[in-house]
C-alpha cells in the first residue's frame, strides 16, 4: 500500500516546518500554508515525509496508508 500525506486544514496554523523538511513535496502558499500533493509518496522521500509529519507542532500533518483525500 502506498503512503500519502494528509493535512488537517483546521489544525494547521502555517508554521511551515513541513515545507522546510520536505521541499520536494510541499510548497507554501502566499500566506505560509502548505500546499501538499496528495499522491503516493515516492520511496526515497518516505523517511522525510514521516519526519515532517512527526515534527508538525500542531499535529496537523499525517502520513496515511491508502488513498489520501488531500
Amino acid at each position: 500500500m502506498s503512503e500519502h500525506l494528509r493535512i488537517d486544514p483546521i489544525a494547521c496554523t502555517g508554521h511551515g516546518l513541513c515545507a522546510e523538511l520536505l521541499p520536494e513535496w510541499i510548497e507554501l502558499d502566499d500566506w505560509g500554508y502548505p500546499i501538499i500533493d496528495g499522491g503516493p509518496i515516492p520511496e526515497d522521500l518516505l523517511a522525510h515525509a514521516r519526519r515532517a509529519a512527526d515534527t508538525c507542532p500542531k499535529l496537523a500533518l499525517a502520513l496515511v496508508t491508502g488513498a489520501g483525500r488531500r
Binding site: 486544514p9 483546521i10 500566506w31 488531500r70
Partner: protein, 414 residues
C-alpha cells in the same frame, strides 16, 4: 399527477392541514427498508446542492449499528434561496412524511427538523403540523442561525451538538458520527418531500417527470428581472425559457443568468433554451445545485454584483482554515479594486493564483464554491471588467445590487 407535485397544495397561501394533506396525497404507507431500493430505482438525488444519490446515503446509515437520527435540513444558507422555507410553510406534512419514512427505512431513527431562525412562518407551520399528528412523537424541531455555513452539514451538526456553527474535518462523516455522535442521515427537506411521494407512488411514477439521469421535479427560487419572483416547481431538464415564463417573463433584456447561487455559474443572458438539469448544465460548467436562478437585467452592473458577493462570502468564511481565511478576503479586495478602477497591475493574475490556492484546501467547500463563482464572473463579464479597470465605476455601479448580501432583507417567498 403532473406538476406541481410538492407544491400541489400551494394554491393556498398557508400550510396544508393534515386532513388537506391526506386528501391530496393519500396516507403515508408504513414501510421499511424496501424504500431504499425504491429510492435507488427512482434515481432521487439530494436537492440541497450536492445532488448526491439519496439511496446511497440511506444505505450508509442503515448499515450502521445502534441509535440513529434523521436530520431534515431546512437551513438554506443561500441568501437568494427561499425554496426550503416555502416548502416547510406550505407542505410541512409532506416533509414530515418523508422524514418519518426515511427514519423507518434506515431502521428506526429519531428525527430533527432544522428551520432557519428567520423563517417564522415555516417554524409555525412545522410546529402546528407536528401537533396535528399522532406518529410524530419522535420528531423535534430546532431553530438554526441564518448563515451560509448553516447549510454545511458538518457545521450544522456541530452546532446542534452544542458547539459553534463551524465545519469540522471529515471523516468521520455524519452517516458514521453525527447528532449526539450517532449515525445521522442528513437530507435537505425538499429531498425528504420527494421521498414521501416515492413511498406512496413508487419509482416509475417518480420518473414520469424529469430526465433519465435526473428524474423528478425540483424546487427553484427565481429572482431578479422577472415579473413574479418566487419559488416554483419545475421538471428537471425544463428549459430556462419555460421557467422564466412561469415567473411572469423578464422585465428587461437579460445580461446574464446566475444558476446555482453564490457557488454557482453565470450564463450569458441569451441562453433561453438551455435545459436545467445537471448533465445539460455541465457543458457550461454549471449545475442546478439548490435551485437558485437569478436573472440579471442589462441595466445592472455585473462587475459590482460579482465583487460584492465575493466580499460577503469572504465574511461568511468560518476563518478556521488558513487559505480560506486569507485567500477569500484577498480576492475580494482585488475584485473591489478592479471594480473601482484602482487595481494595481497584475491584480487579475493574483486573483487567478489565489483562486487556485484556496480551492480544495478547506475543511468544507465554501472556498471552492466562492472561487468557482469568481471564475465564472470574470469569464462571463470579461469586457465589463476591462472597462472598469480602464475607466473606473460605470453608470450602473451606484445602483443597489440585485444579489442580496444579508443582513439585508431575505428574499420573500412567493
Amino acid at each position: 399527477m403532473t406538476l406541481p407535485r410538492l407544491l400541489a397544495a400551494a394554491g393556498h397561501d398557508r400550510a396544508a392541514s393534515l386532513d388537506e394533506h391526506i386528501a391530496l396525497h393519500g396516507p403515508l404507507p408504513r414501510g421499511g427498508a424496501e424504500l431504499v431500493e425504491a429510492t435507488r430505482l427512482a434515481g432521487l438525488t439530494g436537492r440541497g446542492g450536492a445532488s448526491f444519490p439519496t439511496a446511497v446515503k440511506l444505505r450508509a446509515v442503515a448499515d450502521q449499528r445502534g441509535p440513529r437520527f434523521v436530520l431534515a435540513n431546512g437551513a438554506e444558507g443561500e441568501p437568494m434561496s427561499a425554496k426550503d422555507s416555502t416548502l416547510l410553510e406550505l407542505a410541512p406534512h409532506l416533509v414530515l412524511d418523508g422524514a418519518l419514512a426515511a427514519a423507518d427505512a434506515i431502521g428506526g431513527a429519531r428525527v430533527v427538523v432544522a428551520v432557519p431562525a428567520d423563517a417564522e412562518f415555516a417554524w409555525t407551520a412545522v410546529r402546528r403540523a407536528l401537533a396535528e399528528r399522532h406518529d410524530a412523537r419522535r420528531v423535534s424541531v430546532v431553530r438554526v442561525p441564518v448563515a451560509y455555513l448553516a447549510g454545511e452539514e458538518s457545521a450544522l451538526i456541530r452546532h446542534l451538538n452544542g458547539g459553534p456553527l463551524l465545519p469540522t474535518v471529515v471523516p468521520p462523516r455524519p452517516f458514521e458520527r453525527g447528532l449526539k455522535r450517532r449515525p445521522t442521515l442528513v437530507q435537505n427537506v425538499e429531498t425528504l418531500a420527494h421521498l414521501a411521494l416515492i413511498a406512496r407512488h413508487g419509482p416509475t411514477w417518480f420518473r414520469d417527470v424529469g430526465t433519465a439521469e435526473q428524474p423528478g421535479s425540483a424546487l427553484v427560487t427565481v429572482s431578479g428581472a422577472v415579473g413574479r419572483p418566487g419559488v416554483c416547481e419545475i421538471a428537471c431538464g425544463a428549459t430556462l425559457a419555460d421557467v422564466l415564463t412561469t415567473v411572469g417573463g423578464v422585465t428587461e433584456p437579460l445580461r446574464a443568468v446566475l444558476i446555482g447561487g453564490y457557488h454557482g455559474t453565470w450564463l450569458p443572458g441569451d441562453r433561453d433554451l438551455i435545459k436545467l438539469d445537471d448533465r445539460s448544465l455541465a457543458a457550461s460548467h454549471a449545475s442546478l445545485a439548490a435551485g437558485v436562478i437569478v436573472a440579471l437585467g442589462a441595466s445592472a452592473c455585473p462587475v459590482q454584483e460579482t465583487a460584492q458577493v465575493l466580499g460577503w462570502l469572504a465574511g461568511e468564511s468560518a476563518g478556521q482554515c488558513g487559505p480560506c481565511r486569507n485567500g477569500l478576503p484577498g480576492i475580494a479586495d482585488q475584485l473591489g479594486a478592479m471594480a473601482a478602477g484602482v487595481a494595481p497591475p497584475g491584480a487579475e493574475e493574483l486573483v487567478a493564483r489565489w483562486s487556485r490556492d484556496v480551492a480544495r484546501r478547506g475543511a468544507c467547500n465554501l472556498p471552492d464554491g466562492a472561487v468557482r463563482f469568481v471564475a465564472s464572473g470574470l469569464r462571463e463579464f470579461a469586457a465589463e471588467w476591462e472597462a472598469h479597470r480602464r475607466h473606473g465605476p460605470c453608470r450602473a455601479c451606484p445602483r443597489p445590487t440585485m444579489l442580496a448580501v444579508p443582513p439585508e432583507e431575505r428574499l420573500a417567498a412567493a
